[in-house]
Symmetry: C3
Subunit: 310 residues, 3 copies
Amino acid sequence: MQLSPALTLKKVAGIINAEFDGDPDFEISGINEIHKVENGDLTFVDHPKYYNKALSSAASTIIINKKVAPPNGKALLFSDDPFRDFVSLIKKFRPFEHASGMISPTAYIGEGTVIQPGVFIGNHVTIGKNCLIHPNVSIYDHSVIGDNVIIHSGTVIGADAFYFKRREKFYDKLESGGRAVIEDNVEIGACCTIDKGASGDTIVGWGSKLDNHIMVGHDTVIGKNCLFAAQVGIAGCVNIEDDVILWGQVGVQKDLTIGKGAVVLGQSGLSKSIEGGKTYFGSPVQEAREKMKELAMVKKLPEIIEKLRS
Amino acid sequence: MQLSPALTLKKVAGIINAEFDGDPDFEISGINEIHKVENGDLTFVDHPKYYNKALSSAASTIIINKKVAPPNGKALLFSDDPFRDFVSLIKKFRPFEHASGMISPTAYIGEGTVIQPGVFIGNHVTIGKNCLIHPNVSIYDHSVIGDNVIIHSGTVIGADAFYFKRREKFYDKLESGGRAVIEDNVEIGACCTIDKGASGDTIVGWGSKLDNHIMVGHDTVIGKNCLFAAQVGIAGCVNIEDDVILWGQVGVQKDLTIGKGAVVLGQSGLSKSIEGGKTYFGSPVQEAREKMKELAMVKKLPEIIEKLRS
Amino acid sequence: MQLSPALTLKKVAGIINAEFDGDPDFEISGINEIHKVENGDLTFVDHPKYYNKALSSAASTIIINKKVAPPNGKALLFSDDPFRDFVSLIKKFRPFEHASGMISPTAYIGEGTVIQPGVFIGNHVTIGKNCLIHPNVSIYDHSVIGDNVIIHSGTVIGADAFYFKRREKFYDKLESGGRAVIEDNVEIGACCTIDKGASGDTIVGWGSKLDNHIMVGHDTVIGKNCLFAAQVGIAGCVNIEDDVILWGQVGVQKDLTIGKGAVVLGQSGLSKSIEGGKTYFGSPVQEAREKMKELAMVKKLPEIIEKLRS
């Protein structure tokens, strides 16, 4: 999430009532969760396990619950609860805005685009030219839709990231400050959900085609010309390169990469990154040929064991 | 489903035109399907295999298709088709009511709750304080939503139980007389379905967080602070204790229990109850460590067999 | 897709600007993709691998990208891009029509049918008697719904077929000219998607009952009295005979047949046709008993190998 205009370290420290170490006029140009940080961003860290990762990340400013010295060129904000303070910043700069009707007056809709009845278009949404949005689609605030995009009924673009921190007695929600971005020439089937980024963008890339009932988690980035069959489920922060094909009901865990041109057969489950240009099957997934051999061997087991016995 | 005021045995016998054995003024305070019966309830049984279960259940009155003597303290109604008569009672006391608009005038909506556009709220629905109901959500009649609940777009609360009796030439529907109950501080993602109870309540417990595309079947009871990832499917009459985590695309069959704090890895399938406090994987599910060992052994099979041969 | 009135070969050749071989007055009574062709239909073929299949199919007229002689009783249209020309014909004879409101004035709705709020009913839709269409359902143009049908909230009937041709730099869409047809006494759960046929009909047969989150692909034909549990996904062009039961999260690949009365256990995956009257399990699917034996054997492997070693 970009801040424009940028803020100063001193200003942010005042908002969350925190001590800081750094130039009071140090510039903060964005607020981003650790998976998506860029230079100039503010992020947070609250677990010793991740201190190093945060302090050596691209982020320029870090909210942290330990008094350490700021690394070169960075600033620190000290907080007893960095998660709480990070969330309060998201809420301040990306506040929930009530809808005033089915189509927000702050939405921009390009020429030639058809919006069918029952479609909700939230505040600050941008939709390109020559799109077709079918009935009863819901598009949350700040979503960005390109040109020539088709979205089928019941689909939800930009719902909140599923991102919670376990507290002792309850789950605490990371408010989502990011966006859902659908590039040109994408088609999304019926009853799909493309969540917004936690703080960055969830992206469905140019020309990709999604069948029905597909889930795309927060901050996942899908390349160009991908093809996903029905009921595919993709967790958050996944990186899917161009020309990837996922067949029906494939499940993809968070934080991994699927290489260019990979093909994953139906009902497979990915818990690790896979290389491009190959075909995969199984849960957990393997190369399809290897998996097929295994399945054949298991089928022949009784026979093999019998032979070994005699 | 509670009856208030309670009815007498004689009254109910008159409605379904049945003979009975018991005090004509015997009190019937609820109508419930066998999985949910309590003292004072009327239930039904029509298969010899289940006669004993029904007759020894908590139900006080039973519609049955065999002339037997009522157990101590119970009353019986005799019918050639107990299912048909049970359904006719549900229909009489929980009739379908036409909606008069998107938000029923008989619905109660608490202070601070935001209802976004395109939301349907049926008759006799109760929604607590400070909830946020996103666009195009549908909430069926009699549903109960607590305080601080968030429900994302496209989600359907309280659709009918999927409960049919096979007749010779068709499936006969058990009309649903139950409710969907969402407790305080729950968040439900986009395109989820939480069915109403067949006669009792389907419950999503305090503070639980559900991702997108999740199915919760009729009469299932989910405890506090559970966390379910996208595309989890839970059948009817499941009992899920507190702090259970189900990862993406997990499937749970009907009538079983998941113990407190159990963690079930993605795409697993549960056909039996599992103990709490452990991690599970596979379809059918096993303890995760055990399953991982099995998978490793299958991978090494060619090598092992080669060794045994030589 | 039927054409009424029928067209002549010469007329169609003029529309797509193609040379032809056949009687100029040769009659074309329908436009159908190869999976659904009948006598009198026009179809297309653009890959040498499928020339014979198309030329020997029931289709009477074929758009083809090779100059060959027409088989007996058939006519040919020659095109450098049969896919493009086929799509242009679909678009001409089944054009997209803007909705003028939530319920089209060209829709027919039978007596006793209840349409709840937020339902979209497209152009030329037919709905029979005594149906109940729950809130926020979307029914695309040309869909046909029988009598006594119940459709739950969020469900989408008749969205486009997921059918794309890979071009060098992008996926090209086959516009859908077919319909979704729901026969009498069907019940469809919440958040289901029943796609329209690519050019023929997708059919949910008499009395079948579908739970929530079910996907039925284009041109799939489901028989009478089938029962599908939640989150079942069925690809395109599948043929499911009567009395088939699919339990939760079953996945079915395209172009196959499930025999009468087959039962498929939860999470199974079908990549081949299966015979009726049996019970199946696994991904890929096997007869359930066989699969259970395999699973038991894998569990005993460490023990078996130990024995063989000693």
